[in-house]
């Protein structure tokens, strides 16, 4: 059916003109926004060493806490007095200091003081508290998020698919055992378990991936199992069995391909969840060890300086939000296209 529809060419009489409404239609119909964002993230992750303008791990202390390029200088009007106590430095200034800024300053008057320089194109998105370039750190941070997401998915996904196939095919006590294991794992508070592992075994990439994979496989196993339960009653499977195909052959050649559509949808949605979980762990200080930039730990770095230096926490958070949001949007779109039955399952 689908191939027939695709072969029908539409609007072939008139050469297509790009119109605003046509553009809007395409934007609504195809996942342009999510795919665009994800493409940027993937390119950033792969090409980080060539794209990043500065070293993400080494800062220039002289350039610390610079705002993004669009920000203008922050100026405060300070009252000129004779002596200034430490706690009044926000609104008072000594005459000696004031004269350096403005020769006409006098006691009792006031001067404008630049308390935060404006942004510059040297650091497009500003710098953090030790003078590291935010943009470069964000670009390298995409690496961590993406690698953790993909490796976890590869490990967890293959384990989940294998166990799901086995559970669905054999049924009985095997099914019972695997599915109860799934229930147990799903009821564990995953962040807490991950934290316990990290504290007990040390902070490393491998441990984070292992813990997240240990949790994520359950989603795949459940979904694949329910697909197998349906597929194994099909005639072509019975036929394969009659003609002497071995069980592994039936599972891999005849049943597994039938689950691929579902898997693509589940995988897309689960990568988003893994990226979110990784960011939570690195926010709590249990992620990939510093100074490697991870989005979650960058948010944490700027937490207590938010009122003055908003960009340090805000920007990496936006990066996570956009990435996960794109994966969710793409997942929803793929579900509608590939497997509308999944709609009810959420």
């Amino acid at each position: 059916m689908a191939s027939l529809e695709n072969n029908v060419t539409t609007g072939s009489l008139n050469p297509r003109r790009i119109t605003l409404s046509g553009l809007w239609y395409a934007l609504r119909r195809w996942p342009v926004f999510p795919v665009g964002i994800l493409a940027i993230v993937v390119i950033a992750a792969i090409g980080a060493p060539w794209i990043a303008p500065h070293n993400p791990e080494r800062g220039v202390i002289r350039d610390r806490l610079l705002p993004p390029f669009w920000a203008s200088e922050t100026i405060a009007n300070k009252l000129v007095v004779e002596r200034v106590e430490m706690e009044d430095r926000g609104r008072l200034i000594t005459l000696t200091d004031a004269l350096e800024l403005d020769p006409s300053a006098s006691l009792g008057g006031s001067v404008d003081v630049v308390i935060l320089p404006g942004g510059s194109t040297k650091y497009l998105l500003g710098t953090d508290q030790v003078g590291r370039d935010m943009l470069s750190r964000l670009i390298y941070g995409a690496r961590i998020s993406l690698i953790v997401g993909l490796v976890t998915l590869a490990v967890g996904g293959s384990v989940g698919v294998a166990l799901g196939l086995i559970a669905g095919w054999y049924g009985g006590w095997v099914d019972e055992l695997i599915m109860r294991l799934v229930d147990v794992l799903l009821s564990l508070p995953v962040v807490l378990v991950a934290l316990v592992f990290v504290v007990a075994l040390g902070q490393s990439f491998a441990i984070i991936v292992a813990v997240l994979a240990l949790w994520i496989w359950t989603r795949f196993a459940r979904q694949v199992r329910s697909e197998v339960l349906q597929l194994k009653t099909r005639d072509y499977v019975a036929l394969a069995r009659v003609s002497g195909a071995s069980t592994p052959r039936i599972l891999l050649i005849h049943i597994f391909p039938g689950t691929i559509n579902t898997l693509i949808v589940v995988a897309t949605l689960q990568v988003g969840i893994v990226i979110l979980l990784e960011s939570v762990l690195s926010f709590l200080g249990a992620g990939v060890p510093p100074p490697t930039p991870a989005w979650g730990s960058m948010v944490s770095d700027g937490r207590d300086k938010l009122a003055e230096f908003w960009w340090i926490s805000t920007l990496p958070g936006i990066a996570i939000l956009l990435t996960v949001m794109s994966l969710n949007l793409l997942g929803d779109w793929l579900r509608d296209k590939l497997d509308p039955r999944l709609r009810q399952l959420e």
């Binding site: 009821s187 807490l192 504290v199 988003g272 009810q344």
Partner: protein, 276 residues
């Protein structure tokens, strides 16, 4: 790795200090024996003394419990009063502006990292506008920001579940029959459709109550909320195992309790389950 003595002793401590502290904490015994002692005491509701604070772990946990329950309940209620009406309305008025708005709310709730959401809320409503306290637990207003942070994700999930369940139900034969009979559309939505659309979100509510525990780790850390989530993180990084074990067991009990509550509610909402 992970030995609490690493944090308790300083550089001037000797091998003797290390061994003595090991004996006091019972770390000199073999693992299986340590575990046996733990199980025996845990069954009596004793998790031993907190290594960091030197007080019974159970006391500390009971002190912190009300804060976590308050936050959890607030977030849960919030997720319902936002998610359910928006879910119903966006299904009934499909494609409307309200539906679009709900989609955005749901998308942000499901995609935003909770710690960042908390920090942003804190920045706007506490620092910039100065409407609400930025952190701590003082007065009823202080629960608002943590509850939004914790509850948004579940509000989003409820919204999506209710919306798709409502769309399914509204499309069914018996609703068409009710319409044909001339039942008012208000009565169709509230009496016929909504009750049936409640079942998937209710299943989810069981998971939610449990997952609120996980969420509380992050939210309580961001807002310095003195509950069990923050206690878990603190005891974990302080290698305070008796305290951590106690917290984990209490979390588990809360999860089991929540699941049980949902099963009971199930039977109440769906009579078919009761009669089987």
């Amino acid at each position: 790795m992970g030995d609490p003595r690493v944090l308790l002793l300083d550089d001037y401590s000797t091998k003797d200090d290390w061994d003595r502290l090991g004996r006091e904490l019972g770390l000199d015994k073999p693992y299986y024996e340590q575990y046996g002692i733990f199980v025996k005491e845990a069954l009596k509701g004793e998790f031993g003394e907190s290594i960091q604070q030197g007080r019974p772990a159970m006391h500390i946990i009971l002190e912190r419990l009300p804060a976590t329950i308050q936050l959890g309940v607030a977030a849960f209620v919030l997720s319902l009063i936002v998610g359910v009406p928006l879910g119903i309305l966006s299904a009934v008025k499909r494609g409307s502006l309200l539906d679009q708005f709900s989609r955005v709310i749901a998308l942000i709730g499901q995609s935003a990292p909770p710690f960042w959401l908390g920090i942003m809320l804190m920045f706007f409503f506490a620092v910039q506008l100065d409407w609400l306290p930025p952190f701590g637990r003082e007065g009823p207003k202080s629960v608002i920001l943590p509850a939004i942070t914790l509850g948004w994700f579940y509000a989003a999930a409820n919204l999506r579940l209710i919306r798709s369940a409502m769309l399914d139900v509204l499309d069914s034969e018996y609703i068409k029959l009710a319409r044909a009979k001339g039942v008012s559309s208000r009565s169709i939505i509230m009496k016929h459709a909504f009750r049936n659309a409640l079942i998937p979100p209710l299943t989810f509510a069981g998971v939610t109550l449990g997952a609120l525990v996980t969420g509380s780790l992050v939210t309580e850390t961001v807002f310095a909320w003195p509950g069990l989530g923050k206690l878990a993180v603190d005891s974990l990084f302080g290698l305070d195992y008796p305290l951590l074990q106690g917290v984990v067991i209490i979390f588990t009990l809360m999860y089991v309790g929540a699941s049980f509550l949902v099963d009971v509610l199930y039977a109440y909402i769906d009579p078919r389950i009761r009669y089987n």
